[in-house]
Symmetry: D2
């Protein structure tokens, strides 16, 4: 077993933030009236975590509206309602990650890794 490289450690940190964001906030009651405050709270909460330089969360009002059942005024937050981007910095390595819909399913992925000196 090797110790992780700085870039591997940076990717581990990036994954922690994504799992945290998703499982902390999935299930939150959401309506078109509360998307802006939830986006902001999610971003600011996860930006508190170490090595997390930037988080943007976009909850799509039109998808929220479509998900609301006929007898209710709200739905529960799931990955299919939002896009998320993050930037993680660790020992000079930058990792960019995103959660976006792929084949009808929200996929968390690494957009790119920027190593020192590149």
């Amino acid at each position: 077993m090797d110790d992780p490289t700085d870039a591997e450690q940076a990717c581990f940190e990036a994954g922690i933030k994504f799992g945290s964001l998703y499982h902390q906030f999935a299930g939150t009651p959401v309506s078109p009236d509360s998307t802006r405050s939830l986006e902001r709270a999610m971003a600011e909460a996860i930006e508190n975590q170490p090595h997390c330089e930037s988080v943007t969360v976009e909850i799509h009002d039109d998808r929220v509206r479509a998900a609301i059942e006929h007898e209710n005024d709200y739905t529960e937050l799931t990955g299919s309602l939002m896009d998320v981007q993050m930037r993680i910095e660790y020992e000079g390595v930058t990792v960019r990650t995103a959660m976006e819909m792929a084949d009808g399913y929200p996929l968390m992925s690494i957009v790119g890794v920027e190593r020192p000196g590149e």
Copy 2:
């Protein structure tokens, strides 16, 4: 077994909101920089739920600061860091509830029940 009265149903609804708020958001990373956005998102999220007329959440910056461990810049949200008040309306019954510290432990309680005609 009896069917519940309107006031009993109102109190049940009030309890659901409190349990929801607490277990949805407990554990969220929080620092003095993110208290305002988290307060607002919590209130607006739970106000989406049926019969929930008003939610106020106050996260105490001084308690957050005191809870932050020496090597970190944030802590996790727990009941001891905040006060919450809610107003529930159901079929003319108003229930007011609060979560506040009692003997060092956060206690969810009914502040009062106002019945129609009172």
Copy 3:
């Protein structure tokens, strides 16, 4: 504003347990291989809470299977996948509650209230 009756307080306690159970565990990764352990952990966790005498959780394997997307081996727990029953006791009052599907949507409700002397 009146103080709550014992039955109203019992219904408030019942609501807290339901909101707690739902928002603690909604979003948990679940497959037909992990339904039994999740049911048991949910019931035992919520039975720890005060005045909560009994919790039964049934996660329907067939609904879990139907909810699993084609490219995955699991889904996330939502109210539509399970039935829940609880019994709350407070100062001699018994409240029975249930979450079941109604019109395609999971509804938390009071099944009945049993008062002392009944």
Copy 4:
């Protein structure tokens, strides 16, 4: 920006699982009577996630007992009450991770990375 290596992707997946486990289950009511069922449900839930070969969770009964406040019979799950180990496999790379107490604070870390051919 480079595409991630297989080992970097494996570390990202490992991080997702850790963030998921922590933020899904932190805050769960727990007592010495419910530690075993919670350990098992946590491990089986996260093992559902892709590339997650093995999860072990140990909740320390003595720490749970010590955390229980005088007037209660339970506490809420936090990182300081448990040890977690995971093994992630991705395209022939094995990543081992652990959460253990370090300086009084629960730390998620990569124990080692095993590359193909090693």
